[in-house]
Amino acid sequence: MTDVNSRRNPISRRDVFRYGLGASALAALSPLVQSPSGAATTQQDKLAVARIAHATPKRGGTLKFARSVAPTTLDPANTIIAGDIYTLDKIFEPLYITNASGVLTPWLATGYTTSADNKTLTFSLRPGVKFSDGSPLTPADVVFSINRSRKNAAGPLSFLDGAISSIEASGSSKVVVKLSEPWAPIISDLSVFANAIVPANFGGKSEKEFFAAPIGTGPFLLSSFTPDATSLTLKANPHYWQPGKPYLDSVEFLYVDNDSQRVLQIEGGQVNIVDTVPPAEVASLKSNASVVLEQFPAWEVDLLVFNEKLPQFADRNVRRAITYAINRPALVHAANFGTGEPGGSFFPPSLQYYSASTPVLEYSLSKAKATLAQSKYPKGFATKLLVDSGNQKFVTFAQIIKSQLQPLGIDVTITGLDHSAFESTFQKFDYEMFIDYAINDISDPDEMASFEIDVKDGGSSSYWSNYDNPKAIALVHEAEAEFDTNKRAALYAEIQSIVAEDAPFVALDYPPYIYATSKSVQGFSVNPGGAYRLEDVWLT
């Protein structure tokens, strides 16, 4: 169970860790650090270049950041919700981070060496790193933090450290991590915020005292925070290890859960950055000269899921026919207002090992009709589509899908439920089709593959579809045990191909993260996992 002292406001929580990371408890022998594939990287790099092209950063100022999520606790080992994560990651830092292009980057560690049996990793700590109270970072702090995280039975992500059998300090600047088995995604796992470093024994304070006035190595430190209040202020850490950073004096996070309020606040110049801009507002914000609209690729896919426990959706031809019948470019155009990309593979293009050559069942009404004719339901049938009625984009998706399935004789009734009821309904398999989004949290794609395909051990009965293809599952396990980058890419390409042909779900689109900033904000970027670092941000 999670920390009972945390106060959460989950209306606004983004389901950051939607996937069953438990799936990665299987031995995965992937290469350690890889660059993500093609398209998205290029897009990100262009963005980065555009950002760097700006003049010398200016110091000072307060960044006002209105977010749809609220922090409730700052303890990295005891939370999983977005409002907490994207606040505490400014205060505490892990050994590695995922940068804006989705690549693992040494952070509090400068690197590591691996033993011949791949079971012992020796990390070198970055010299000169200090906590915000001026005390130096030591191996003891790392040992304490990671032990605390991995041994915390209540920790929502403690299983990520499941492969670690021990962690010890070595000398004054090294940490030795021993694994119970060769475990390639260990760097990805260690980069998760739950493994961020706090001072050993909380610097002598009690846990409660410590998190009320936390001390970390991050660019900012806590200035004021009441868990059920609507704003939180951070101020610059004078001892930050990156020389000259952060540029900002302080950051004020405001909790504004109403979409139109956030948009109006950025238009009215009341704040500098807003998150989660509704796609419908993108066009009007783009035409606003005082606002900059930013879109960042995400490890995220919107899915139409079929309940294969029902005979009509256990019929592969029915699923294929529906996939053919859904015009995804039209969907993106109508519901996303031009943001995001039409869906194809169940891996998003920003994810490592995404295969652009996946044989996607592209929109074709004639193929849809021909395929349905081969099914056990050639004349169609009546069915229900479940959506989260609070999600306007998905409601629009549902309406378009309903009209696009009409020519097949498939008569869709849309059922809307509020978020809480929606989730508990589809997770009980009390549905026929539903629309939801799936995200990958860490840089390794094994998570998405296991969660959506491995019906037994993946943690979600193949995203509550009950899709079961033994060949695909075997390939997922094979990819987990594969070190060679090229071979692993080939395995994931084959998996994506099988899933595209079987059509257990329709990848509707790949939505981006949409932010709006005032013209004065420079150096802001978001990584594909949804995290943003603020030490590079400055105000003109």
């Binding site: 169970m1 999670t2 009972v4 002292n5 945390s6 106060r7 959460r8 406001n9 989950p10 209306i11 929580r13 389901d15 860790f17 939607r18 996937y19 069953g20 990371l21 438990g22 409730t72 999983i80 919700i81 929502p156 992500l157 868990p227 059920d228 609507t230 405001l254 504004v256 859960d257 109403n258 139109s260 309020q261 109006l264 606040q265 238009e267 009215g268 110049g269 009341q270 609070g390 439920l417 509020d418 978020h419 809480s420 009821a421 929606f422 989730e423 508990s424 309904t425």
Partner: protein, 311 residues
């Protein structure tokens, strides 16, 4: 008088009890659980069941209800599942904002209503009257959140004179932040008030004592504001009292539009989170205040008009 108040208070208890029964039943009929929200996506069925047990949600509905009513009788409104603090503290922190919003909105409603109704009544069936009546029909037709967004666009986004939303610091900032929300909430009831007060004033304008006043040679403006408006005040107070309930209800929407953290937004977020103790407590507080305001209104009307006898 004391007997009258006691009787009304007893009735109020029954009303609030009825409201809480209905709230309780509706809440527990809906699927969804705060346990899932609190535990996140990795919640195991066992963890959810454990939390449900801790909260007593595994008991039968009647026994949960008995425990809930028992808590209320002992003045215990329970602890929020989501925030893990007593609901009374949560409500205490937020009730001030909503009370200020409702109070200011009621004030604005009166300030807008009296001149408009007076104008319409004085110029009955003339151009000004048609304009006022037309505007109130229009006002009834538009939802108040739409007015709110229009006001934000004009005063905050374009003119930059008032904040877009949220609550400012200091008394000035606080008042400044409440200005647009209060006007928005007031606009929701002004049309109804204007139409009723206009009718009331027209009746009084035809009354014999007004004719007498005029015959004595008093100036028309004095007649209107001192004699007519004073007499029309009683029905307005009664009407305002009745509409306070509507005003309190509208804070749920107005607080959303203006990003204010009062009881209205707390109620909405708690419903969506299935934070039952908070929903029930807020409903009781809002229900009680509506009943009390109605009582005060009746007492005030009796005080203003000696013809009204309270039994």
């Amino acid at each position: 008088m004391a007997r009258y108040i006691a009787g009304r208070l007893a009735a109020a208890v029954l009303v609030v009890f009825g409201v809480s029964v209905v709230t309780f039943l509706f809440l527990h009929l809906e699927p969804g659980s705060a346990a899932r929200t609190l535990l996140g996506e990795h919640a195991t069925p066992r963890a959810i069941a454990a939390l449900q047990r801790e909260w007593g949600l595994n008991a039968s509905l009647p026994s949960q209800f008995v425990r809930y009513i028992n808590g209320i009788i002992h003045g215990n409104l329970g602890t929020s599942y989501i925030y893990q603090i007593p609901t009374s503290r949560l409500i205490g922190e937020r009730i001030g904002l909503t009370a200020a919003l409702v109070g200011l909105a009621a004030l604005f409603a009166v300030v807008m209503t009296v001149p408009l109704a007076t104008l319409a009544a004085a110029k009955k069936d003339q151009f000004a009257d048609h304009v006022v009546r037309g505007l109130s029909v229009l006002g009834l037709g538009f939802p108040s959140f739409w007015f709110g967004i229009v006001l934000i666009e004009i005063f905050s986004v374009h003119l930059h004179v008032l904040p877009v939303g949220g609550i400012g610091s200091g008394f000035g900032g606080y008042l400044e932040s409440l200005l647009l929300p209060a006007i928005t909430a007031a606009i929701g009831i002004v049309p109804i008030l204007v139409r009723s007060l206009r009718v009331g004033m027209i009746e009084i304008l035809d009354a014999e004592f007004v004719a007498t006043a005029r015959a004595k040679g008093l100036r028309e403006i004095f007649v209107l504001f001192s004699i007519v408006a004073r007499n029309a005040l009683i029905p307005t107070v009664t009407l305002l009292g009745l509409n306070i309930a509507y005003l309190i209800g509208s804070t749920v929407i107005v607080e959303q539009v203006f990003d204010l953290n009062g009881l209205g937004s707390l109620l909405l977020s708690s419903i969506l989170n299935r934070d039952f103790p908070v929903v029930q407590a807020v409903t009781i507080v809002l229900g009680t205040s509506v009943v009390l305001i109605n009582l005060v209104t009746d007492l005030l009307a009796a005080r203003l008009d000696p013809r009204i006898r309270l039994r």
